[in-house]
C-alpha cells in the first residue's frame, strides 16, 4: 500500500508540472496571435499621429516623438485628401439600404419559416443561391440596365443593388431565427383567425429585435465596406462612397503615409465602433452566415 502511493505521488506531481507547462505554452501562443492580429492597428495608430517630418520609413515602428493630429485633420476634411464628403455619401447609402433590406428579410424570413406555402423550400433555395454568386457575373448587365432605364445616377443605384443582392442573406438570418419561435404561438394566432400580417405584426415582430440587430449589423458592415459594386456602378467621383475614395487617395504615391493611415482608420471607424459596441450580435450574424462568406 505505502509503496504504491510512493510510486504514484511523483507521477501526479510530474503530470501537474506538465499541465502547468502546457498552460504557459497555450497562453503564450494566444497572446502571440493577438499581438500579430493587432500589429496592423499599432502601425495605423502610430503612423497616423506622426507629423509630416517624422514620416520617415526608418522610424516607422517607433512611437511619434511629437504627437500630431495633422494627418487626421488632412484625412478628415483637408482640401486634398479630405474624406468627409465621401463619408456622407456612405451614410446616404448605408442607412436606407440597411433599413430596407432588413425589413424585406424579416418579411421573407417570416413567410418562409412560419407561413409557408407549397414549394417554399425551393423558393428559399432559389433566393439563397444569390448570396454566393460572384457579383462580377451580373455587373456588366447591371450597369447597362441602370443606364437603359435611366435609373437615377450615383448613390440610388448602389442602394438598389445592395437591397436586391442583400435579399438572400437577410432572408436566411431571419428564417433561421424565426424557426426558433414556438409553433404554438403562431398556431394560437391562427386559431384566433388572425391573418398573416396581423400575426406578423402582433406575434412575430415584437420578438424579432435580436434578429433585426444581427441583420442590420451584417448589412451595415458589408455595405459600408463594399468596394466592388461602388467601383462598377458609380462613375461620378463626387458620388463615391468612402471605400472608393480611400482607395483612390491611398493608391496614389504622392499621398504621405501618415495621411494614408489616418484615412484608413477614419474609413473603418463606423464599422469598428459597431463591432466594439455590438460584437455579440456581430458574432451571431457570422454564425448565421456560416452558409456565407
Amino acid at each position: 500500500m505505502s509503496t504504491a502511493s510512493v510510486a504514484v505521488e511523483p507521477r501526479i506531481r510530474q503530470r501537474r508540472r506538465r499541465q502547468t507547462q502546457a498552460r504557459i505554452v497555450k497562453y503564450a501562443l494566444l497572446v502571440f496571435a493577438a499581438v500579430v492580429v493587432l500589429l496592423p492597428v499599432y502601425v495605423l495608430l502610430v503612423a497616423s499621429f506622426k507629423g509630416g517630418g517624422e514620416a520617415d520609413p526608418s522610424r516607422a515602428w517607433s512611437l511619434p516623438h511629437v504627437w500630431s493630429i495633422d494627418a487626421w485633420r488632412q484625412a478628415w476634411n483637408g482640401e486634398q485628401y479630405g474624406l468627409l464628403p465621401f463619408l456622407k455619401n456612405s451614410l446616404k447609402l448605408v442607412i436606407p439600404a440597411t433599413l430596407i433590406s432588413t425589413m424585406l428579410g424579416s418579411l421573407n424570413g417570416f413567410v418562409l419559416s412560419r407561413w409557408r406555402f407549397p414549394g417554399s423550400d425551393i423558393v428559399f433555395l432559389f433566393l439563397l443561391f444569390g448570396m454566393f454568386i460572384p457579383y462580377q457575373a451580373v455587373m456588366i448587365p447591371l450597369s447597362q440596365i441602370f443606364i437603359d432605364v435611366h435609373f437615377p445616377e450615383g448613390i440610388p443605384r448602389l442602394v438598389f443593388a445592395h437591397i436586391v443582392y442583400g435579399i438572400p442573406i437577410t432572408t436566411l438570418i431571419f428564417r433561421s431565427y424565426y424557426a426558433t419561435i414556438p409553433e404554438d404561438l403562431i398556431e394560437a394566432a391562427r386559431m384566433d383567425r388572425a391573418g398573416m400580417l396581423r400575426t406578423y405584426w402582433s406575434v412575430v415582430l415584437p420578438v424579432s429585435a435580436p434578429a433585426f440587430v444581427v441583420t442590420a449589423i451584417w448589412q451595415f458592415t458589408s455595405i459600408w465596406n463594399d468596394f466592388l459594386f461602388a467601383v462598377f456602378l458609380i462613375t461620378d467621383p463626387a458620388q463615391w462612397p468612402v471605400t472608393v475614395a480611400l482607395n483612390n487617395t491611398t493608391g496614389s504615391l504622392v499621398t504621405p503615409y501618415n495621411v494614408q493611415m489616418a484615412a484608413a482608420l477614419i474609413a473603418s471607424l463606423p464599422t469598428l465602433v459597431v463591432y466594439i459596441a455590438l460584437g455579440r450580435y456581430f458574432m451571431r450574424g457570422l454564425m448565421a452566415g456560416a452558409l456565407k462568406g
Binding site: K26, L30, A33, A34, V37, L39, P40, V43, A47, P57, S58, A60, W61, V111, W115, S120, D121, L125, F126, L127, L128, F129, G130, F132, I133, P134, Q136, A137, V138, M139, I140, P141, L142, I145, V164, Y165, I167, P168, M196, N225, D226, F227, V231, F232, T243, L246, N247, T250, M261, A264, L265, A267, S268, F282, M283, L286, A290, L291, K292, G293
Partner: protein
C-alpha cells in the same frame, strides 16, 4: 380554395423578392453569358455570335496546347507557343497560389486558435474579440496598412516587416513579399489569412463546443489521454465544420478583388481573374471578354457551392 387563402398571402408577400432575384440574379447572369458570346469587344457591338473571347481564355483543342496551358497555370512559366491570353494564364497561376496559401493558412490558423481556446481560458471573450475584429474592417482599409507592412523596398528605404525583421536581427527573413516574382501571390494571401482566421476560429470553436461533453467524458473514463480524446472523439465531429470552412474560404478566394486592388493596384504581378475582368471593362472596354471571365468565375463558384447548398438543405430537412 380555403387552402389558397391559407398560403396565398405568404406567396404574395415574398413575390417581390422572388421577382427581384429572378431578374437581377438569374436574368442578369443569363444576359452576362450572352454578352460573353457576343462581339462586344470595343465600344461598338454588332449583333453577331462570337466565341473569340473564350478562345483567348481556353487553350485550343490539341493535346500539346492543353498540356502547355495546364503546366503554365501550375508553374507560372509560359512557353511562347501557347496561344491563350498570357495575362489570363498568369491570373490563373496567381489564383492557384493564392487559394492554396489562403485556404490552408486560414484553416490551420483558425482551427489552431479554436483548439487553444476550446477548454476555456481566462479572458476567452477578449481573445475572441481580438481575433475576430479584422472581419469588421474593409479589405480596402486593411490593404492600406498591409501594403506598407509588406513593402519590399531595400537599403535606406527599408520599412514594414522587413525593417522589423532587420531590427530583430532576423534580416534574413526579409523578402519582396507580394512583388516577389515566384511567390508574390502567396504573400497576398497573408492579409487575407489575417482577415478570415478569426471567422474560421469562431466556426471551429462552435464545432468543438458542439461535441457532447458525455462523449468526451466517456472516452476519458476509458483511460484515453486528452490528446486521444481529441483525436478519436472530437476531430471526427468536425468534418461538417471543415466542409463549411472550405466552401467559405474557397469561394472568397475565387472572387478576391478588393484586397488585390488595395495592395497591388492594377499591376500584372499581383493580378487575379477578378481584377483582370475589371481592367478589361474599364480600361480595355472589352466587354465580351470581361463577361466571359465573370462567367468562368461563376462556374468555378457554382461547382463549389451548389452541391454544398443542396447538401445543407437536405440535412436541414432530415433534422
Amino acid at each position: 380554395m380555403r387552402k389558397i387563402r391559407r398560403w396565398g398571402p405568404g406567396l404574395l408577400l415574398v413575390s417581390p423578392s422572388i421577382v427581384l432575384v429572378a431578374v437581377f440574379v438569374y436574368g442578369l447572369i443569363g444576359w452576362n453569358v450572352k454578352v460573353s458570346f457576343s462581339d462586344w469587344r470595343q465600344a461598338v457591338q454588332t449583333s453577331g455570335f462570337d466565341t473569340s473571347a473564350y478562345r483567348e481564355l481556353f487553350p485550343s483543342a490539341s493535346a500539346g496546347q492543353v498540356w502547355d496551358f495546364l503546366t503554365a497555370v501550375v508553374t507560372g512559366n509560359q512557353p511562347d507557343s501557347l496561344n491563350t491570353d498570357p495575362a489570363w494564364v498568369i491570373d490563373l497561376h496567381h489564383a492557384l497560389l493564392f487559394t492554396v496559401a489562403f485556404v490552408l493558412g486560414a484553416l490551420i490558423v483558425g482551427a489552431s486558435l479554436a483548439f487553444l481556446l476550446d477548454k476555456g481560458v481566462a479572458g476567452e471573450g477578449m481573445f475572441r474579440a481580438i481575433y475576430l475584429f479584422p472581419m469588421a474592417v474593409s479589405f480596402i482599409a486593411a490593404g492600406v496598412v498591409w501594403r506598407w507592412l509588406m513593402n519590399p523596398a531595400e537599403g535606406d528605404r527599408l520599412t514594414g516587416f522587413n525593417l522589423l525583421f532587420h531590427k530583430m536581427g532576423l534580416g534574413f527573413l526579409g523578402n519582396q513579399w507580394y512583388l516577389g516574382p515566384t511567390w508574390g501571390a502567396a504573400a497576398l494571401a497573408i492579409p487575407a489569412v489575417w482577415a478570415l482566421s478569426g471567422y474560421i476560429m469562431a466556426l471551429y470553436l462552435a464545432g468543438f463546443r458542439g461535441v457532447p461533453e458525455e462523449l468526451r467524458e466517456a472516452a476519458r473514463m476509458d483511460g484515453a489521454s486528452e490528446w486521444r480524446v481529441y483525436r478519436h472523439v472530437v476531430f471526427p465531429h468536425l468534418t461538417p465544420v471543415t466542409l463549411s470552412a472550405l466552401i467559405i474560404l474557397g469561394h472568397i478566394s475565387v472572387k478576391v478583388f478588393d484586397l488585390i486592388v488595395a495592395i497591388g493596384g492594377k499591376q500584372l504581378i499581383t493580378q487575379t481573374p477578378a481584377v483582370y475582368m475589371w481592367i478589361l471593362i474599364y480600361d480595355a472596354r472589352d466587354y465580351a471578354k470581361g463577361a466571359a471571365i465573370a462567367t468562368l468565375l461563376l462556374i468555378g463558384i457554382s461547382v463549389l457551392v451548389i452541391p454544398y447548398l443542396v447538401y445543407t438543405v437536405r440535412s436541414e430537412r432530415n433534422v
